[in-house]
Symmetry: C2
DNA sequence: TACGTTATCCGAACAGTGTTCGTTTGTCAA
DNA sequence: TTGACAAACGAACACTGTTCGGATAACGTA
């Protein structure tokens, strides 16, 4: 590792850090290439030495943010005995992370930057799957340990795209259950973050109540 | 109604129409004030005679889109006998409308235009509530006709903001159930629209399956 | 009909954006 | 030391939203 390579890596990290800070503190509207360049103290043109443009910086940011959320979920779910408890903690961590990084959450799951196009080779898709993997693993574990029963059959899911990225493959019915579960608590977080719920309400408790309903319906015998 | 007032109304409608067409056909990135001005054949400065700026045009667009979705939901839910069927059709209409107007849906429920700020006096909030009202009415009707039972008590919801806008007020428990229900099918539509589900899957069937689960849990005896 | 008022419209300008190009500076290896 | 390459920059281009001043047209009224 030469000196130049090391400096390059440091500067790439500094640029990504400046971009993330800018996004979190000033919002997506201020996530501009020229602004990032000002923050790291270089000219806009110089940034093109390290990234192919603003979209490339954003793509790197998305991948890092997905991995950050995935790590937060894994940490929150670790340690508890019952799978039900770990699954609950994972869903709570999903929402907590969104509250701590609302701009990043929007960047990951909505499209707050008009004109941004994710790259074809899909590094952001890979990273997104790394967030869902803990949930799928918990469902699978709950099933193998007998905490919940096998899901009733339902519409088929095409597992070609996701199965190769999950250890031991993935069952179509479980993937469907995972997607449905995800959709339910994600919808709450998304609507909440975009201000679509009545103000003055203790949304923590409502979310807990929603998770209760979801886990109950999954078949956990509380 | 003078001639000038009529011309003004027509031009306002034409501007909004151009903005909506631009959004739907070219995406949020092309929803620019200068572009809209080009489409209607006037200078950018002239647009300020009719709107206070780009944000004001977008606000008008949001209100119209909310009302359009609300109308689609009401049309879809009308006519069927059982409340369960109408509720199901309403949820399907919610998703169908999103598929027919994906860019508009994102504009309503996510924040695809960085820097846009909704106005303080909340015309967009009023319009958003007009979308939720049919769902709340259906829940209330199912309860009064005995198709489902009263919801078990749960965390309280502050009904001050929404109750005055719904005829006959609103019950806190029912509002909570409505919010939870909405969150669940909205999450599916949002994730689907943003490409977070495995490709090649028959998502229509999965959504139907999800709605089955939701209505069953609401207490409808199929 | 004539006049003053007002709405409408536009051109020019300003500050900001992403991106490209040509050039210069700095670093590394042969 | 020299040649090759990475890195950095200034200037420019085509955009964007917005403001301002002035011109033009339509209006209500005397």
């Amino acid at each position: 590792m030469t000196r130049r390579e090391r400096l390059r890596e440091e500067l790439v990290a500094e640029i990504k850090n400046a971009a993330r800070t800018r996004l979190n503190e000033a919002g997506a509207a201020e996530l501009s290439l020229r602004g990032i360049a000002r923050d790291v103290g270089m000219s806009p043109a110089s940034l093109y030495t390290y990234f192919d443009g603003l979209d490339d910086v954003i793509t790197a940011l998305i991948v890092d943010s997905f991995d950050d959320q995935a790590a937060a979920i894994r940490v929150a779910a670790a340690g508890a005995r019952s799978v039900q408890t770990r699954l609950r903690r994972a869903t709570v961590a999903y929402r907590d992370w969104a509250h701590e990084h609302p701009e990043e959450f929007r960047l990951l799951y909505e499209s707050p930057i008009a004109g941004y196009q994710a790259p074809e080779d899909g590094p952001t898709v890979d990273a997104a799957i790394r967030v869902m993997t803990p949930f799928m693993e918990l469902l699978h574990e709950a099933w193998t340990t007998g905490e919940i029963e096998a899901p009733p059959p339902g519409p088929p899911i095409d597992t070609k795209a996701t199965a190769p990225r999950v250890e031991g493959g993935i069952d179509a019915d479980w993937l469907r259950v995972g997607i449905e579960t995800w959709a339910q608590f994600h919808g709450f977080v998304s609507l909440e973050l975009n201000g679509h719920f009545p103000p003055g309400t203790a949304l923590d408790d409502v979310y807990d109540h929603l998770i209760d309903n979801i886990t109950t319906r999954l078949g956990f015998t509380d």
